[in-house]
Amino acid sequence: MKLIRTVLPNLCIAMTLALVTLLILDSFNPLLGLLRGWPFLILSLLDAAAAIICAAVLYGDSRRS
């Protein structure tokens, strides 16, 4: 649990920054198709999962306190 609290938020931040970077790169050159295909899809799903887990942990903490 301590590991989740320590590592997961940072992982979530890093993945979200990566997603935003890819969105910006794609707006300059859509031909590269950065938003298409499985790498972007998997990154999006992992980021979503990490965000949900972080939110759940934060919510649990706030209820306990």
Partner: protein, 331 residues
């Protein structure tokens, strides 16, 4: 009591940024690096732009006249002897007239070049990819491509070699049959050119009509009646005034290439996509399609640049060209 060590905030932020960069690099490698390595390991030669009669081309009327239907219909544009001028070309099969015009006024004025093209037969409209092969991110200077492909006239294409997805065909050979997010332009073997908004076409219907070239870039510039559209399928980043390259269609055998110079203050500002559409509407085209512009937009005629690229331009992934066998011996 042992003090709890906390990592300085700056270190945490730096670690997060480094991790984000690593993730972006990984995605880029998987999306682009892997196809690049695969295509370089096994490069695929693209069909040479060698004009040869296309099986579905329309046969000459059974009147004893050996000329093709297009040669008869556009006879006033062709010439029995090959005549090559500074901005014109006339032969039995190909007629090209290039005009340089101005769009707009004052500081927003843009210079554009229109090549009016008549063909005696569809096989004289071809394409060529960098170094004659399909390798991801391969490019070649346009003069070399024009020389290798024996192009009388050429313009930049849809940067085929940078496309990792799309519905793409060159000189009758398919490269990809993915569903693209872009509008399509299809040149069929009978010389008809049609554009399709993204998501509105039936791939099987297109295939059954014997396409020769399929470009995936866009956007399409005109509606079915040849009028400008109200909205274009284009990203915001490229919708500002820019150099442009585009192809237009009047009827089978009659086409035009348009290249707009831009990003050159005092010479040519560049045009937006709606302005480019207006150029084609004023030309009277039935269909028109935007190709790769910006630093790529270029027109070369008789091995010399007609347009003026900003910053000297860039090497290209592919070109659209007009050619006929043996024309360089006549030059």
């Amino acid at each position: 009591m042992k003090e709890k060590k906390t990592i300085p905030l700056l270190n945490v932020v730096s670690l997060d940024l480094m991790l984000a960069a690593l993730i972006v690099a990984l995605v880029l490698f998987l999306r682009m690096g892997v196809p690049l390595l695969e295509s370089r390991a096994a490069p695929r030669n693209t069909p040479a732009p060698t004009p040869a009669p296309i099986p579905t081309a329309q046969a000459a009327e059974p009147t004893g006249d050996p000329r093709s239907e297009w040669q008869i219909r556009f006879a006033e544009h062709f010439s029995a002897e090959t005549e090559i001028g500074e901005r014109s070309y006339r032969s039995e099969n190909v007629s090209i007239e290039i005009e340089t015009l101005q769009f707009g006024e004052g500081i927003d004025a843009s210079v554009y070049h229109v090549a009016d093209i008549y063909l005696g037969s569809p096989e004289f409209f071809q394409t060529y990819t960098a170094n004659g092969r399909m390798v991801y991110f391969e490019t070649q200077p346009v003069e070399e491509m024009a020389a290798d492909s024996h192009a009388i006239l050429c313009i930049s294409g849809d940067f085929l070699t940078y496309q990792t997805s799309g519905f793409l065909m060159r000189n009758g050979e398919f490269y990809r049959q993915d569903t693209p997010l872009n509008d399509l332009c299809v040149l069929y073997a009978d010389g008809v050119m049609e554009t399709y908004p993204a998501g509105t076409y039936d791939a099987q219907q297109i295939i059954e009509r014997s396409p020769r070239q399929i470009w995936s870039f866009g956007p399409a510039l005109l509606d079915a009646e040849g009028h400008v559209l109200g909205k274009y399928n284009v990203s915001t980043a490229v919708s500002y005034p820019n150099p442009r390259s585009a192809v237009g269609y009047y009827e089978p055998g009659h086409y035009c290439f348009v290249v707009v110079d831009g990003r050159q203050e005092g010479y040519s500002h560049g045009v937006t996509v709606p302005e480019l559409a207006r150029i084609f509407e004023e030309l009277g085209c039935k269909a028109a399609y935007n190709l790769d512009g910006g630093g790529s937009a270029v027109m070369v005629f008789n091995h010399e640049r007609v347009s003026r690229q900003s910053n000297g331009g860039r090497a290209l992934g592919d070109i659209l060209l007009i050619t006929e066998p043996g024309w360089e011996e006549e030059a």
